[in-house]
Symmetry: C2
Subunit: 205 residues, 2 copies
């Protein structure tokens, strides 16, 4: 008698959950500052690969966001002005081609909760639900719902062309961005979000 | 007798053609370097508004791209390592809400042509056609077609998770990014693209 085995559940890495981070330090001592910050961060359950443009981080949503929070917080502790450009993506693993075909059941995830970083951040944030014919809905509906949700967290501070402005503790800003991305990802397979953070700016508005 | 006037053609600004730029200079003298570069750039036909996170640039595709090329080239002339995080958007003007409803006829534009900058750039690039139910097609088809086109320009150098890598003269890299965005924009109303550039990096691969 042969037994049938259910297929194993898909993992976040197989689903293409990951981030790209470009961390820019406006200081001539940037090499030391960035290397020190990266050394302190816990990469135990993550795939981390750095090149000359950005750093790829693969893993679960919580582990990725904790890594981003820790690296940026450690960099900010130098006192230098910094910007962080972050791309979060889910639902389209692989490189040149999506390794998952469209129409795979969306893989949900729990909301991310981060302890306060003690670092003030200003951010411009954009969210992209990548819908296809037959997926139903309107991409702006999902974006408006996410902005409305962000509005309840206390970090929403305004709207700019092509971006929503967030101000607050770095952890709250990252939570807001990540949880909107995760929230839309419950029903849309391929969702990306981009956020540019500014920390220790001499020209805070 | 009353005459009927055709409605005036929609302008790029009304259609929401614009960019956001975060220019990061890894040098303690960054304020002077960035201000010098911005002062030299021609803003005659553009709307330019800078805050502590990024700079908004509104105008025609050609004027915007020339401005971005000029500001980045002037910054690179300092010799400092820099990164530029650029968002290009079309088809969704306004701030919190799109001021254009979905289903407006897509506004085409001529491809952008830029004189060589004489500056080597490495880039990670992502393109987002924001389709809705009824728009037809598959968002990845448009992305694959754009990558194939980029492949013919000589600046395509590889694929990373969530991004396409481009290497070459800054102008060629920006042309490739802009012309894919403009090309998809001929049939899709709301199209955004994000590119992170690295210039004068001590760790070029």
């Amino acid at each position: 008698m042969t037994s049938t085995h259910p297929s194993p559940p898909i993992t976040p890495q197989q689903y293409g959950v990951g981030a790209r981070l470009t961390l820019s330090v406006y200081d001539s001592d940037y090499v030391r500052i960035i290397l020190d910050a990266l050394e302190q961060a816990d990469t135990a359950r993550l795939t981390v690969k750095t090149d000359d443009v950005s750093t790829f981080v693969g893993g679960t949503e919580s582990d990725i966001l904790r890594f981003l929070r820790d690296v940026i917080t450690a960099t900010a502790a130098s006192g230098a002005h910094l910007s962080a450009s972050i791309l979060l993506s889910r639902g389209c693993p692989g490189e040149l081609q999506c390794a998952l075909p469209p129409g795979v059941a969306a893989l949900g995830a729990d909301p991310v909760r981060l302890d306060p970083a003690g670092v003030d951040a200003a951010a411009h944030w954009s969210l992209y639900p990548l819908l296809d014919e037959g997926a139903g809905g309107d991409h702006m509906d999902a974006i408006y719902a996410a902005i409305e949700q962000a509005n309840t967290t206390g970090v929403f501070t305004g709207s700019e062309h092509f971006a929503t402005r967030l101000d607050g503790d770095l952890s709250e800003v990252l939570e807001t961005v990540a949880n909107a991305w995760i929230g839309v990802g419950r029903t849309v397979q391929h969702v990306t979000t981009h956020v540019t953070l500014s920390i220790n700016s001499p020209t805070r508005r």
